[in-house]
Symmetry: C2
DNA sequence: CATTGTCTACGAAAGGATTCGTATATAATG
DNA sequence: CATTATATACGAATCCTTTCGTAGACAATG
């Protein structure tokens, strides 16, 4: 069932670009990436080729310029990364992480409302 | 200000043992570690030596058998790891991570109460 | 006191992640 | 059509992490 390896940090940077930009060429990804860090074109190319081998991305090779596309969902990836962190640093307790993240974070009223909404949803589920 | 590198996964395993067990010898750490994974004594030794070089741990070399002790706080480490994850996978939004973690996690009533308590504390801070 | 056990130190192998130079193919341009 | 620009492929260097074998110091034991 687990088909995809955990993406590395560099791979995650590229995935985030693909998630927000949609299917892209290496050139396009590299252009966006260049804003956040200095990186050569062939470096990005190589990374994306490796990601294709790992099935983290698909690529369409119909035209000479290949088009790459994320093959894992942002939401699923975030979920897996959270689980890793929870296991590695919070002894498996997701709630510990939540409380830490909440406590350290400056929260706006809108965000608090958002959480309260989610909490009441969670409570409603329990009452069913 | 930033003195300590981000611990690797293996280093984090050892730190967790030091945090819960307190100052320990390599042998003691390795014994605990052996429960969760098969690992040779010298492997653990080497890792802990590296961690000492990185100042992630202190070691007392008064006696022949050295005593190691965590040199970074569990809480701070968790905070830094959360920040890394938030930056790398949640575009810097801690709230996104919280909502995800909450949503994916099966929450008990006690945990919900805990969060509600934290939220009202956060709200009180705002009213000051 | 010789043997056995336990410790640290050291070095190196193995694997993965990251970076980039170079070669080659192909398209675009004058 | 020659030149220039842009693409992929490939391989290698570098760096980091992880693992462990071996050697030497020292203590404990028979």
């Amino acid at each position: 069932m687990k088909k995809h390896p955990k993406p590395t940090e560099s791979e995650l940077q590229i995935l985030r670009i693909l998630w927000t930009e949609g299917p892209s060429t290496v050139r396009e990804v590299n252009n966006v990436l260049s804003v956040e860090k200095q990186v050569g074109y062939t470096t990005t190319l190589k990374l994306m080729q490796i990601m294709a081998e790992k099935n983290l991305v698909n690529r369409n090779t119909d035209s000479k310029t290949h088009i790459y596309q994320a093959n894992i969902l942002e939401h699923d990836t975030q979920k897996n990364l959270i689980k890793s962190l929870v296991d590695q640093a919070f002894g498996g307790s997701a709630m510990e992480l939540v409380l830490q993240a909440l406590g350290n974070h400056k929260t706006t009223n809108e965000e608090l409302d958002q959480i309260k909404k989610l909490i009441s949803q969670l409570e409603n589920v329990k009452h069913d």
